[in-house]
């Protein structure tokens, strides 16, 4: 099947992201990449747990406030849901609706990122808890900051896709691009679930 061909809702295939060889390659390649990313975050989690509350004047219990983090979690989880809607519409060849839901995803993600920046700012100014303050602070900012950098990259990526394809609609050339971007977004969300549990919840109770 040719990537540049024009489609109608009737002729649009069931799995548009896997119709071309490039699409199938991207699909598997990206899953494998996420496997590597998982190991990267596992390493960062392990380091965080090893250095948690080490050499610091302020402990997790005093530092974290769950209401803010809860709001952030809800925002990111919802953005994962809206990206599912977007892919649902991609599969049904509803380009406008797909673009809309991806736009909502970006909005939610950006709000999450803004809150995270506020959170970091708050820690630095209220608790004097900077990147170089202690072993604990370095491990905390590296883990949560790497996640934040992934969110930022994902926002840029999905925004670029929305703008680039705004005028030309869906094709088998850009369907795999949207699809792997949504995979990436889900991965970021899953990592956050672990951060919420291991860093924040265990920080409050553990």
């Amino acid at each position: 099947m040719m990537a540049e061909e024009k489609y109608t809702p009737q002729t649009w295939p069931a799995d548009p992201e896997k119709q071309t060889l490039e699409g199938r390659n991207k699909f598997i390649g990206f899953w494998l990449f996420l496997g590597g990313e998982t190991v990267l975050f596992a390493s960062l989690f392990a380091t965080y747990l090893a250095l948690k509350n080490k050499g610091t004047h302020v402990t997790t219990n005093e530092l974290f406030s769950l209401p803010l983090v809860f709001v952030m979690t809800m925002l990111l989880l919802t953005s994962s849901l809206t990206s599912v809607y977007a892919i649902y519409h991609m599969k049904n060849f509803h380009f406008k609706k797909m673009q809309f839901w991806f736009f909502i995803t970006v909005l939610l993600g950006a709000t999450f990122l803004a809150l995270e920046i506020y959170e970091f700012y708050h820690y630095v100014h209220e608790f004097d808890f900077g990147f170089t303050s202690s072993a604990f602070s370095g491990a905390y900012y590296t883990l949560v900051g790497t996640h934040g950098a992934h969110v930022l990259f994902g926002l840029g990526w999905i925004t670029a896709l929305i703008i680039r394809n705004a005028k030309r609609g869906l094709s088998l050339y850009n369907a795999p691009k949207y699809y792997v971007a949504s995979l990436y977004w889900h991965f970021i969300d899953v990592v956050w679930v672990f951060i919420f549990t291991v860093v924040y919840l265990l920080g409050k109770v553990g």
């Binding site: 990537a3 540049e4 060889l21 199938r24 390659n25 598997i28 390649g29 494998l32 990449f33 496997g35 590597g36 990313e37 190991v39 990267l40 390493s43 960062l44 380091t47 090893a50 250095l51 080490k54 050499g55 610091t56 990147f131 170089t132 202690s134 072993a135 604990f136 370095g138 491990a139 590296t142 840029g156 990526w157 670029a160 680039r164 050339y173």
Partner: protein, 629 residues
């Protein structure tokens, strides 16, 4: 193509190589790049052996000696052995599975250029005067306190080239999963393809921990964080764990493809199907799996406790089982075969006993109580050179001779090849066998000199002589390459006459689209089956049709260059531990990152559909593309 190539200017050829996405040309790049760093690492080795030629020899200062062995190890592992293996994988694997290219030609090129710029950055340390000096393992307890920027060249250079390796690993995985020709089931794949597959999955899971720990070390040294600073709550053992969680699989990343190369060579020149193919596949997978379970055997003396040491000791010794399976399979492949002695086969024959010695000393070190005696002595140095030189370098030299005709269309001289082998083989054992005893006699590794009258003089002298024999052998091989290239005598599809796998059905070197029609695979050793049935080429699996090809692009070079520039900004940022921050550093860092991410964005928004070679053009093409016609 080749008739046109001779008329092109140097600039056009250079541009072609800078922009190429063809796996066969990228294989050339890896061979030249990796070969260059191999020579550099080799010269460093010779300088080390000159310093140790006699007791208290003042050939170089102790500081320089530290830099020398650090750069020797780092260069040989990251910048020589792996890229040279990538050269052979790139040249051969797509052909072995009947593919026209790898899954992501663009990423293939990007992987090479990241490796290349990372390697250049690391070696700029020599020019700017501060080479890394904390050993290739760069333990944080030592490297954190290293003066000057040496360690920063190490962290930044390896970070850049590490991204390249990870990208190449994913690329090979997807290529082997998705791009196999019809009929090429997993259990029909040639051994080199299988071992590439497993080594690539090791790369995928082993490099991220290295990336993480290098980030920690970089942050500690360049932004004064406290990951490894014990006074601020840090923990240097974290580095040791992550380094070896990467470092142990790394040695299997090197040795598994080497096993693959030898499997191809031994079955080709025994003119027999590989004995125990499925057990060979199983052993490869098992070694890959166990490779992740044994990292702490590098840390027996760190003090993890008896239970941890015992578990890792047992796991370590278990790896001898699948490796033993492989050794016996090679022996039984030769058993009853019609053996032809060629240069690659000689290396294979030399490899088996050499590698077994290295394996046996490995099991000795796996015995945790004994390791307390052996740790940090020359016994360790002897052991890992027996497996890395006796295994990986032998495989690279054998593979270079074996696949040279497929890569360049000419045959390296057999006579000079024999001389290289004999010198290298004798020199290798001369250098490293005695080092086992030097270690047992109490000579510690990584020490710049030794005193006379302690029984170490003669052993070190013999070792240095051996090193020079290996150096001469490599020089003869270079002469061989030059003579062969100047003579330029082209060879046919199957110059060894007994090729078994699909690459030998193609022209030497293959036409840029590899296969005119995708081949149909009917069993293990596809080309051998066709030859046995009297066919001159492969059976096509599809009618002749347009071929889709990717466009050349310069972007991978620019993306890599951006990171290279950013690395300087990172190193001289005002917060760095050395305290020589420069005002231009942050702008340079930002400019470099903008170049990289900007180029990625352009790549993303500019459509690149590639191009098609029309059917009519293919019909008139004199190249057969592997298909019998």
């Amino acid at each position: 193509m080749s008739s046109i190539a001779e008329k092109r200017s140097v600039g056009a050829v250079l541009w072609e190589y800078l922009t190429t996405v063809d796996h066969k040309k990228i294989a050339h790049l890896y061979l030249f790049g990796g070969g260059f760093f191999f020579l550099l690492g080799g010269i460093e080795a010779l300088l080390i052996r000159i310093q140790l030629l006699k007791p208290q020899f003042g050939f170089m200062s102790e500081e320089t000696f530290n830099e020398m062995f650090t750069m020797h190890g780092t260069t040989m592992i990251f910048l020589a052995a792996m890229p040279l293996l990538f050269a052979l994988m790139n040249a051969v694997v797509p052909l072995q599975i009947g593919a026209r290219d790898v899954a992501f030609p663009f990423l293939n090129s990007l992987g090479f250029w990241l490796f290349f710029f990372g390697g250049v950055f690391l070696n700029l340390a020599w020019i700017f005067g501060d080479a890394p000096d904390a050993g290739w393992t760069s333990y944080a307890s030592l490297s954190l306190f290293s003066e000057g920027h040496g360690i920063d060249y190490y962290t930044l250079g390896l970070q850049i080239s590490g991204f390249g390796t990870l990208i190449s690993g994913i690329n090979f995985l997807v290529t082997i999963i998705n791009m196999r020709a019809p009929g090429m089931t997993f259990m029909r794949m040639p051994m080199l393809t299988w071992t590439t597959f497993i080594a690539s999955s090791l790369i995928l899971f082993a490099f991220p921990p290295l990336t993480a720990s290098i980030f920690f070390l970089m942050f500690d040294r360049l932004f004064t964080t406290n990951f490894f600073d014990v006074t601020a709550g840090g923990n240097t053992i974290i580095w040791e764990h992550f380094f070896w969680i990467f470092g142990h699989p790394e040695v299997y990343i090197l040795i598994l493809p080497s096993f693959g190369i030898f499997s191809e060579i031994i079955s080709t020149f025994s003119r027999k199907r590989l004995f125990g193919y499925s057990s060979m596949v199983f052993a490869t997978i098992l070694i890959g799996f166990l490779g992740f379970m044994v990292w702490a055997h590098h840390m027996f003396t760190t003090g993890l406790g008896n239970v941890a040491n015992a578990i890792f000791a047992v796991a370590t010794m278990a790896i001898a089982v699948p490796t033993g399976i492989k050794i016996f399979n090679w022996l039984l492949t030769m058993w009853g075969g019609s053996i032809k002695i060629t240069v690659p086969m000689l290396y294979a024959l030399g490899f088996i006993p050499s590698f077994v010695i290295g394996g046996v000393t490995g099991v000795m070190q796996g015995i945790a109580p004994l390791d307390y005696q052996l740790h940090d002595t020359y016994f360790i140095v002897a052991h890992f050179h027996y497996v890395i030189v006796g295994g990986v370098v032998f495989a690279l030299l054998a593979g270079a001779h074996f696949y040279w005709p497929k890569m360049f269309g000419t045959m390296l001289s057999e006579r000079l090849g024999y001389i290289t082998f004999v010198l290298f083989f004798i020199g290798f054992h001369l250098t490293f066998f005695i080092q086992h005893f030097l270690g047992l006699w109490g000579m510690p590794r990584r020490v710049a000199t030794f005193l006379s009258g302690q029984g170490l003089d003669m052993g070190n002298f013999i070792s240095s002589i051996g090193a020079f024999m290996m150096g001469i052998a490599i020089v003869i091989m270079l002469v061989n390459i030059v003579i062969t290239t100047v003579k330029n005598q082209k060879v046919g599809n199957d110059p060894w006459e007994d090729g078994r796998t699909m690459e030998w059905a193609l022209e030497s070197p293959p036409v840029y689209y590899n296969f005119k029609q995708t081949p149909f695979v009917r069993g293990i050793d596809t080309y051998w089956i066709e030859k046995m049935e009297g066919n001159k080429g492969l059976t096509p699996a599809e009618p002749l049709d347009d071929i889709h090809m990717p466009n050349n692009t310069i972007m991978p070079v620019i993306i890599s260059l951006g990171l290279f520039i950013a690395a300087f900004g990172m190193m001289y940022n005002p917060m760095n531990q050395v305290g020589d921050g420069k005002p231009w550093a942050i702008p340079v860092l930002i400019i470099g990152l903008c170049i990289t991410f900007g180029t990625m964005l352009i790549r993303s928004i500019k459509d690149d559909h590639g191009y098609h070679i029309p059917k009519e053009e293919l019909m008139n093409d004199k190249h057969k593309g592997g298909i019998a016609s």
